[in-house]
């Protein structure tokens, strides 16, 4: 199957949904995409909600870039890419996606507390459900990579690396922004994390 291309100069630009659990660094990752787009001379917007959502809850950030962007919110059904830092959070925002879009999800499972005190179960077939609705589904073991690199806080940078395989921006363009946005002491670590994420590549489940 050929990989879809996402170009800023396409008619509706590029719509990316980032999701995860509070504390995984979703919001910083979406900041970085917007800055990379802006530095490449492209109009860009993002939207998210602060406050209660940060207390370990589900987090979503929406990024759009293109020649002229109006709404900071993505139209449900028009999402090009969904990048989920935790796999249940891919399922939660699946309704944003178009059929020929791409889902990248981190294989890590973080069980919501509600599963422990209610009858709800953590769904076991997330990858299959995603694949039924969306053409390309790529699992990545980003948490494992983060553990290998010795720091779980770089999960978001690893995910950006994986995502970068689908977008039109150069590695330098990403690394410039990342280096500006992370604490000085962690620049080298984050650069490595990005490269590791990029090398993870995108391989579909059989």
């Amino acid at each position: 199957m050929s990989m879809p291309e996402f170009r800023a100069n396409s008619e509706e630009g590029v719509n990316i949904i980032l999701s995860g659990v509070g504390g995984q660094g979703v919001l910083l990752a979406s900041d970085i995409i917007v800055e990379v787009a802006m530095n490449n001379g492209i109009d860009a917007k993002k939207s998210e909600v602060h406050g209660m959502a940060q207390r370990g809850g589900s987090v979503i950030s929406q990024v759009r870039y293109g020649e002229k962007i109006y709404s900071p919110l993505i139209t449900e059904g028009k999402g090009d890419i969904l990048i989920a830092f935790e796999k249940l959070e891919a399922l939660r925002y699946l309704h944003f996606m178009k059929a020929d879009g791409v889902i990248i999800y981190n294989t890590q499972q973080i069980t919501p507390l509600s599963v422990y005190f209610s009858k709800m179960e953590y769904p076991g077939n997330i990858s299959e459900i995603c694949a039924e609705k969306v053409q390309h589904v790529f699992p990545v073991d980003a948490t494992v990579t983060a553990e290998t690199l010795g720091n779980l806080k770089i999960l978001n940078t690893i995910m950006m690396g994986a995502l970068s395989n689908l977008l039109e921006f150069t590695t330098e363009s990403w690394l410039d922004v990342i280096s500006n946005r992370v604490p000085k002491k962690t620049i080298e670590l984050n650069r490595n994390a990005f490269i590791s994420g990029r090398k993870l590549g995108l391989h579909e489940n059989d």
Binding site: E48, G56, T75, G77
Partner: protein
């Protein structure tokens, strides 16, 4: 130079560029980051107030004293500040004064979704509504200019998707600060009835002059397109509507009080059908309909919740196909953090089967599973008034079983008067102040009880215990909320007292204080009988293994010890290493 900014960052930038010199606020989502960002500009005096009323009064005083000033608040904060807001409209300003109302359609982090555009109309104050971050920057400056030109405070009304969305902003230099001289003027600044009557005439004349000006001001503009559909819109709704109806003609309003009636008629005359696209109430629609113009709006758009491109697309039969998901997805609501100091208190309250009038803060999460111990949450400070009123209504029914619970920041915001009232009116109400020494839920802002200013400089610190005693409470007790048996004992004693009592749960926010009590706890699986008691405290660090036995997430556990204290079979174990702090 261009950069990416949230609406809140852009408002701060706009205020800085306009030579602003004084800003005050009480934190409240989605407005909080406005003052935090203003605090980054050392030229500006930026300070947290104990509540929005005080913030607006201090900012109003600074404007009267001659410097460009700003007060920021969330929508319900303007309810608290409504008293100075309405009368400032009569009094006017000296240097410019802008008031930010950050509304929260969809109630992402609020108890109602009131539409604060009505406040501008009711107080006869001009109102600006930016539609992205660049406009947020520019309109902040415009607000100050209008404020000075028309001698009025100006309301800059935003919504969550303006405050918390980010888009590209062009930065400009700061203009020279100007300080206007203060001149005593009793007829203007002392709102005695005899003066206020004359000032009301001034207010009405001012609105007439503004009504003329707003027809030609550049914040209100027509974007001609296909003339079959004419859209009148403002704020974030403009962006959603442009997304869906790219070819239509638009009348985009930035100055929405008063309305540019001449411009609206000119637009209406040239398009076939007029649609007003606005979030929440039919604020524009009703006024335009009252002009005798035939408009569509709320017949196809909701008055509840946020708009988004899908809602508008559906309303115009341009719906987009989206995946239908049939599987049930377990909710992941926000939870009290691992090691949170509130957890032990609510566990004890639940054990003692108390009826709890609650308040606004992280601790409102005690109302949702698994704790579910909070009975009410109305508005800032209401826990105390509610507890007294409930006590007087229920008499013996809830005797010894009723308590109000309130955080330290909320108590200083508007709990003090409730406490004075219950003593004055001879009640025996019991109150628990959860003193974690910070305004936690909005992201850790200082307040008068923390001993630090917005810029974290040392300052005086309110003594909550002495404050309660000065209000007339004889019984003020401190507890360590991490000690369940001691806390239970204190609650039993205080709940049975024949007089009012305040229990202060004394422990800093673990996130703010970066607290780590010990290395992670662990579970002796042989002793775990899967009773589920530990899951009832609702700690994110407590999980289950594949056999259903309790497992502690070592990355999350900070060793607060609550779960070990509630584990009857003694399966949860302390680490062998030394306890650290």
């Amino acid at each position: 130079m261009k950069t990416v900014m949230s609406g809140n960052e852009a408002i701060a930038r706009g205020f800085y560029e306009s030579g602003g010199l004084f800003a005050a606020a009480y934190p409240g989502t989605p407005s909080t980051e406005i003052l935090e960002n203003i605090g980054q500009y050392s030229e500006i005096q930026a300070q947290w107030a104990p509540n929005e009323k005080v913030a607006l009064e201090v900012a109003g005083g600074a404007a009267l004293g001659g410097v460009r000033s700003l007060a920021a608040m969330k929508h319900v904060g303007l309810n608290v500040a409504a008293d100075p807001f309405f009368s400032l409209s009569y009094q006017g300003v000296n240097a410019g004064l802008v008031i930010i109302s950050a509304d929260d359609p969809a109630m992402h982090s609020s108890q109602n979704e009131q539409d604060n555009r009505w406040f501008a109309r009711a107080a006869k104050v001009p109102m600006l509504e930016p539609s992205d971050s660049e406009e947020a920057r520019i309109f902040t400056r415009k607000a100050l200019e209008i404020s000075e030109a028309f001698d009025t405070p100006v309301l800059l009304r935003t919504t969550t998707r303006i405050n918390h969305s980010k888009s590209i902003v062009h930065l400009h230099e700061r203009e020279n600060e100007t300080r206007k001289t203060y001149a005593k003027d009793i007829s203007k600044n002392v709102l005695l009835p005899s003066n206020a009557r004359k000032k009301h005439v001034v207010v009405e004349e001012r609105m007439k002059r503004l009504a003329d000006v707003c027809n030609t001001c550049d914040m209100n503009r027509i974007e001609w397109g296909d003339k079959d559909i004419g859209v009148i819109t403002s704020g974030i709704s403009y962006q959603y509507a442009k997304e869906v109806l790219r070819d239509a003609s638009f009348l985009k309003l930035g100055l929405t009080n008063p309305l540019p009636k001449k411009l609206i008629r000119e637009f209406a005359d040239k398009v076939k059908e007029i649609y007003v696209i606005e979030e929440l109430d039919p604020f524009l629609e009703e006024q335009i309909a009252a002009m005798g113009i035939d408009v569509h709006g709320k017949e196809i758009l909701p008055t509840i919740g946020e708009l988004n491109p899908n809602i508008i697309a559906d309303a115009f039969h341009k719906g987009v196909k989206k995946p239908e998901i049939s599987v049930q997805i377990p909710a992941r609501p926000p939870v009290l953090c691992p090691g949170c100091s509130h957890r032990g208190i609510f566990f004890v309250m639940k054990k003692l089967k108390l009826t709890v009038t609650g308040d606004i803060g992280c601790y409102t999460l005690a109302a949702i599973p698994p704790l579910e111990i909070m009975d009410t949450c109305l508005c800032m400070g209401a826990s105390i008034g509610y507890a007294q009123g409930m006590e007087k209504a229920t008499g013996d029914d809830l005797k010894g079983k009723l308590i109000g619970v309130i955080g330290d920041s909320t108590f200083l915001h508007s709990g003090i008067t409730g406490l004075i009232d219950l003593v004055y009116n001879q009640s025996k109400t019991k109150i628990c102040i959860l003193d974690n020494n910070i305004t936690a839920m909005t992201g850790h802002q200082e307040h008068p009880g923390t001993g630090l200013t917005l810029r974290r400089e040392a300052t005086s610190k309110v003594d909550l215990e002495a404050l309660c005693r000065a209000a007339g409470i004889q019984r003020v007790v401190r507890v360590d909320p991490y000690n369940i048996s001691e806390t239970t004992k204190v609650f039993r004693e205080e709940m049975s007292a024949d007089e009012p009592s305040v229990i202060i749960a004394d422990a800093p926010c673990v996130i703010r204080a970066r607290r780590k009590f010990s290395d992670p706890y662990w579970v002796d699986a042989e002793k775990c009988i899967m009773c589920g008691m530990c899951h009832k405290v609702g700690c994110p660090a407590i999980e289950k293994d594949e056999n259903g036995k309790t497992k502690i997430n070592a990355l999350l556990c900070i060793g607060c010890d609550i779960c070990r204290q509630v584990c009857k079979p003694g399966a949860i174990q302390k680490p062998e290493t030394e306890t650290r702090n």
